[in-house]
Amino acid sequence: MRRFLCLMMALLLLCGCAEQTKRDPEAEERSERYVSAMDTVMTLTAFGSHREEALNAAYEEILRLDALLSTGQEDSQISRLNREETLTLEGDTRALVEQALELYRETEGAFDITVYPLMQLWGFPTKEFHHPSQQELDAVLRSVGSDQMTFDDASGKLTLAPGQSVDLGGIGKGYASARVMEIFREAGVTSGMVSLGGNVQCLGTRPDGNPWRIGIQDPAGQDGEITAVVEVTDQAVITSGGYERFFTDPDTGEVFIHILDPRTGYPAENGLTSVSIVSSDGALADGLSTSLYIMGLDGASDFWRAHSDQFQAILIDDTGTLYVTEGLAEQVTSEKNIQIIPLSE
C-alpha cells in the first residue's frame, strides 16, 4: 500500500514537472511597433523576452532602408541615381537592383524597375490622374525597359539610359520585411510578424506553435472583407490587387488600375483581380505579386510551374473564382470553392 502511494505521489510530481520545460517565460508576451515609412504604415509584432530590443533594431533598419531607397528623399541613393544617371551601387541597393534585374529577365519584362515614368504619366504618385494618349505613352515607353540600363557586375556601377528613372517600390517593401525577419532572428526572437501596409511576412510560428493565419482581402469587397485564409510558417504573403489604387475617367467612366504593364504602358487587364504570393523570400514575393497579376491566370500558372520551388500563389479572377497553386492546397481555406492549379498540366 505504502509503495503504491509513493508511486502515485511520484507520478503526480512528474505530471507537474512535465509542464515546466525550458520555455521562454515571456514566450506569449507581445509587443508592437508602428512605423511610417516607404509611403505606408508598418506594423511590427514580436513575441518573447527579446521582443523590445528586436523591435528597436528593426525600427532603425526600416528607417535606414527608407533613406537609402526612397524616391521622395533627395539624398537617397535612388534619388542620386535618377539625378546623376550613373552611380556605383553597394550593399542593400546593389542587392536589390541585382534581384530586380533577375526578376526582369525571369518575368520577361513584366517586372521592371524603370516603370516609374509611366506611373508619373498616369498620375498615380501625385494622384493627379490623367488618361494619356497613345502618343504620350509611346514617348515615355521608349525609355522604359531595364534592358536599356547597363549594370557592371564587377564594379556595381549602374548607368541609366536617357530619360530613365528607377523606383524600387515594387520590391523594396518585401526586401524590408525580409530584413526585419533577419533582425528578429538575430535578436533571439522566434515568433514575430511584420505587415508593411498589407505586405505580410512571418517569422517562425505563432507563440502557441500553430501556423500564422493570414487573411486574403476580397478584391470585390467594399469594407476589407476576407475571401480566404492561408496558414504559413516562416513565409511572406504579399498581395497585389487592382482594388488598391485606381481612378475612374470622369468623361468615359473607364476604370484604370495602378498596376501597369511596363511593355504596353497600359493598366494590366488580364482577368485577374488579386494575386497573393507566398514565399520565404519577401522581395521575390513582392516583385512577383505584380508580375503575375500582369501575366493573367494562364501566364501566371505557367510561370509558377517553372518556379514552383521558389513560391506558391493564390489568384482571384474577375468572376470571383479562387485559384490556389498545388503546393498551397492544404494551407488555404475559403467559403468559396477552391480551384487547384496542378503542377503538371
Binding site: 512571418c202 505563432r206 500564422w212 493570414i214 487573411g215 486574403i216 482581402q217 476589407g224 481555406t333 467559403e335
Partner: protein, 123 residues
C-alpha cells in the same frame, strides 16, 4: 499499525477526490465553439461561424453530406454514406468536438475563436 493504515486510506481518498474534482472542472469548463472547420481527406475546405444558422452541402469525391448550423450547434443532417454514422453523431458545439464521416474522409471540427483569429491581412 492501524493508525498508519487509516492515514494511508485518507490520503488515497484525498487523491481520488482531487482527481474527480479535476475531471469535473475539465468537463464543466468546456469552451463553447466559435467556428467549424470542414476538412476532406485532411485538407481544410471551409470555415463557418457557429453564430450564423445555415446549411451547406459538402461534396466529397466519395459522396455528399449536408452540414447544418443551428443555434450554435453543428450537425450533419443528411448523407449518402453507407453507414450514416455522421448523421447519428448528432449536434456538437464545444471546442475540440468533431463529427467524422469515415467513408467520405470528412471531418467537421469545432474550434474556438482564438484558434481561428487572423494574425494579419494581406492586401
Amino acid at each position: 499499525m492501524q493508525k498508519t493504515r487509516r492515514r494511508e486510506l485518507l490520503l488515497l481518498g484525498a487523491l481520488l477526490l482531487t482527481g474527480l474534482i479535476l475531471l469535473a472542472v475539465v468537463l464543466l469548463n468546456r469552451q463553447r465553439g466559435a467556428q467549424v472547420r470542414v476538412m476532406i481527406d485532411g485538407a481544410s475546405q471551409a470555415v463557418f461561424s457557429l453564430d450564423e444558422d445555415r446549411t451547406y452541402p459538402i461534396t466529397t469525391p466519395e459522396g455528399t453530406n449536408l452540414l447544418e448550423i443551428r443555434g450554435g450547434r453543428v450537425s450533419i443532417t443528411q448523407a449518402d454514406c453507407p453507414d450514416g454514422l455522421c448523421v447519428k453523431q448528432g449536434a456538437v458545439r464545444y471546442v475540440g468536438d468533431s463529427i467524422i464521416c469515415l467513408p467520405h474522409k470528412l471531418v467537421i471540427e469545432v474550434t474556438g475563436e482564438d484558434d481561428m483569429a487572423l494574425d494579419a491581412v494581406s492586401k
